[in-house]
Symmetry: D2
Subunit: 343 residues, 4 copies
Amino acid sequence: MTTVGVLGATGAVGQRFVQLLAGHETFELSVVTASPDSAGETYRDAANWGLDTPVPESIAELPVQPTTPAAIPDDTALLFSALPSDVGAEVEPALCEAGFVVSSNASNERRAGDVPLVVPEVNADHLGLIDVQRDARGWDGALVKNPNCSTITMVPTLAALTEFGLDRVHVATLQAVSGAGYSGVTSMEILDNVVPHIGGEERKMETESRKLLGEFTGAEVQHHDAVVSASCNRVPTLDGHLENVFVETSDHPAPADVAAAFEDAPTLDLPSAPDPLIETFTAPERPQPRLDRMRGDGMAIAAGGIQTTDTGIQYNCLAHNTIRGAAGASILNGELLAREGWV
Amino acid sequence: MTTVGVLGATGAVGQRFVQLLAGHETFELSVVTASPDSAGETYRDAANWGLDTPVPESIAELPVQPTTPAAIPDDTALLFSALPSDVGAEVEPALCEAGFVVSSNASNERRAGDVPLVVPEVNADHLGLIDVQRDARGWDGALVKNPNCSTITMVPTLAALTEFGLDRVHVATLQAVSGAGYSGVTSMEILDNVVPHIGGEERKMETESRKLLGEFTGAEVQHHDAVVSASCNRVPTLDGHLENVFVETSDHPAPADVAAAFEDAPTLDLPSAPDPLIETFTAPERPQPRLDRMRGDGMAIAAGGIQTTDTGIQYNCLAHNTIRGAAGASILNGELLAREGWV
Amino acid sequence: MTTVGVLGATGAVGQRFVQLLAGHETFELSVVTASPDSAGETYRDAANWGLDTPVPESIAELPVQPTTPAAIPDDTALLFSALPSDVGAEVEPALCEAGFVVSSNASNERRAGDVPLVVPEVNADHLGLIDVQRDARGWDGALVKNPNCSTITMVPTLAALTEFGLDRVHVATLQAVSGAGYSGVTSMEILDNVVPHIGGEERKMETESRKLLGEFTGAEVQHHDAVVSASCNRVPTLDGHLENVFVETSDHPAPADVAAAFEDAPTLDLPSAPDPLIETFTAPERPQPRLDRMRGDGMAIAAGGIQTTDTGIQYNCLAHNTIRGAAGASILNGELLAREGWV
Amino acid sequence: MTTVGVLGATGAVGQRFVQLLAGHETFELSVVTASPDSAGETYRDAANWGLDTPVPESIAELPVQPTTPAAIPDDTALLFSALPSDVGAEVEPALCEAGFVVSSNASNERRAGDVPLVVPEVNADHLGLIDVQRDARGWDGALVKNPNCSTITMVPTLAALTEFGLDRVHVATLQAVSGAGYSGVTSMEILDNVVPHIGGEERKMETESRKLLGEFTGAEVQHHDAVVSASCNRVPTLDGHLENVFVETSDHPAPADVAAAFEDAPTLDLPSAPDPLIETFTAPERPQPRLDRMRGDGMAIAAGGIQTTDTGIQYNCLAHNTIRGAAGASILNGELLAREGWV
């Protein structure tokens, strides 16, 4: 078993990390950190546990540590970061400097030229940037990022469509409240309502998508040149981001070609990797967040509503935003790091 | 006062007609019809009233009539139709044949070449098609339609953008449950969920928009040539359709130019016409359904989130789907018909 | 394995039966019935599957049968009924007459003097009524009922309190929409709303509770004499009925005594029986439907908020209404019937 | 016009005060206060306005004042307090000391023996306590309170039932999220959920009800001796508290007697007083929050579901929690203070 830790383990995403790691087949969670206020408490007391399964007994009595290099045992092979981006920006480099490998969900440094932004089924080879990173920064550790939840929902489908020549993307998202953290969206904001704006989200989708679909030359990632325009909305669902995607393509594939491309998307032999990667529905009203977010234990992308337009295609895609879109994404990156020998 | 009637007055849209007409300054509601089962009951008993204002006392005791030409007094100058489209297809032509002028929200015949599809602030001149219709069909009456609720939310903004050269539209909708009628969406379908499909809605938006923006030659309407691609979603809100619109334009207007175009959209001097037609917000998180659907007494279009893209612009728009998008739309058409001398 | 069937397998409760039976350790589901319209279709096609796990593959291709004695193989040892009560009233007696043992969730005949109404942990001995029933009706089969979902949520806690002398019960329920079936509650009725009335529910709670807590003399069940008054509300939750209970007792137990009584409630060694039967929370804001409805795989009762009053105690209880409150209840009765040798 | 101010005008309840006072027939709102951070900003900028009507133009440009005696013009005849209770406890006595009359919605001092807790239609005579208060505290001003939103929903109905001999009350509440303020309930807490606990609420209902129904002797209020037991729940509705009430009475009135008592409840000739005070429904599924919270412009109590029990009666009642239950309650108290000559 590989010994791992979770940074920022008491928040909404942190809790999801703990839930997913509790029964993990190759990782053993032995360190949980939080803000200094909670340090010293048991995890059970420090976390205001909000998931619909009980706090894992194997973790409940762990003492919460402060999020500092000194507080983390040297033999912790891999750290998962559920930190807010401002805290991540401060602490993650210090941890990498101290020799830790960090698989992070925090948004800081996702755009940095020497930080791999990875979805294993899409661009596993970008991990090669770690060598560039270590050279540039003089680290023994490493920092690897997964993209934003709304990006990760769409990118595996775009990757499957590159064979048709990906020219231009318009996307509208319908995002669940859990993506904003436990207190991010108040009930008065969202009951009987929709909020057509999520700060920074549209730019993340536009830039992260192009980096993920880019080509790693050995020295840098050349971003894909398809332009992405996004409109992001918060809707009154708990979990599961649904996205309406319009893609202009060079070729003119039929819906069946698109479905076949989705079904043929590559899968990986890693503990958290779903098979198939993309579950494709023919009933036009599917996928739906409540019914389909747990496909592949929350790690699959669900797709449907495939239609042709005069300039390409349109379809819908869906993923569980705190599993495939956050904690599960970092864990899958951790599994890839382990298999590739980086930890 | 002009004597008017409402066909299909007991359903969700029918109730909205009754609510809006109860205190109307120039129309007096004197006839309400429903399915034969309810005929003879008082309106109060026949309608399972579901709005949050009481049944108007002036209407409550009206006897419900069957929806047939014989049951409607000859001196009823104008009929509003809240009928389901299959019933509308059967009954509306018979009523027009019998000499009644019908302002209809039902979707039947919206695409017919000799049926005016009208949003008064956008294409009032299309009423000229009534002469073509009367010639072709030998009617003394007339049939005028308003578009679908999701179309009407977007079209006034598109009309304001034609000055920039309207080439291509992608739109994603987030539609309220009241658009499907009182029993159209079950609670189990929509709580904690989104349904990314509304039967027929996408095609309606694509075709109706082009007819509304088209040019009336005196003999026919030449449809606008901008292609519209739509993705329609049902979300857990009660009233108010929000839409994310991406428009490719020939010119490259700045956001301020777009806002100015929206603010300058023409208004009409009719009892139900809002002023301004388009309320434009600068806060990016507005408009929102719960907060903004009642702008202009539910008749205004709210817009916001204006941004430029490489090929044009993107923005959000919102309208109350059962007022501006249905009952209010028909009533406004009726007011236009009255002012132009058709009733 | 015992061969079993589900009557009315395509509705909301029927689907829950299928889901729970798909991996059952002693029951093998081999027959599914529905209304004549669906007969002949595969289960996958006939059911508009609405649960968040996929249709079980082992059931998906079963042909749907009509709900008649002739259509059910003689070697089906046990039938579970998810029928609406009017259909149940017609078909269940015919099936019992034909020799089948029916464990039914339908509300017909729950009050009949010779029909056992059973919650295994509460009144397993009431199964003895089957002998009375067979004598009276000349059946080879048998009809056993579980109570209504709102009753079953409360009765195990009341049973645990009988030691303190149960005099009077006031209860208010907050019931999930799934209790009304897939189309029972429209979205317009319940979004941003509460409906303080569920037809017949209050009387069911009042009479079923007293029968369940009654004493079986060998010839009949003498109802418990505690009066129960109930107010039933529908709230916008998907699953899980929460109830506020006020109990007047002869003794004056402290909250700790009540908690101990709940924790000591008897459990059974049956495949679907939870252990503990009643999970008791000390945090006053628990249990909550979303977080706690799946305790004990949806078969446990959750309780909390225990306080003393001047005349007794008050507390809250919660159960999953379509598992412990419907399909799971019937299955547990079936497991008891099997263990006791009735099938 | 009487010049008035609102303390704590930018919060959820403060905004409701501003909305209701904007067009008030006898009060002119000229002072708005908030926390020191906002002082100096215009009201439009300081308030993150969250109601579905626009910020009143007459108030929007008022400069926000700090909540201190010095900042409030001496000629402000009446202050309404929407302060949090801890701030109220600090500031309200200082303002009364400085000579201001304060009609407060804050919960501090509601139980104090010399502070009138008033619902005008129920116990207007308790205002006489102001003399006791001035004697005891040496104030020129005065402090008057309205009860908690959940108390005020029920007490007018209890007052109407005293003629039948009020012995014992059990009540369960289903309370809207707006009662907790704009950020009081997160979306993750309440979507698809119910929270069966609201800190301190149950005790407030139990003690405030007895004070309101008590008798003012000229020197003190003797509390009513009926015991009240309450269970309080938060449900996913925006506005409107619904309550299930079970009352044990000395007499045994029929439902029609109860309805008559509700309909005969006294009304007052004050600008915000509804007529009737209690709207009584015969359809058992009414009242409902979404449909009936705006009865009497949000100031009426709606009641229904009246049934007899073996020991008395049960029924449901409903009120708009931020109008009749908060801002409107304080304003009505202010109107009573003005009519009685206290301001």
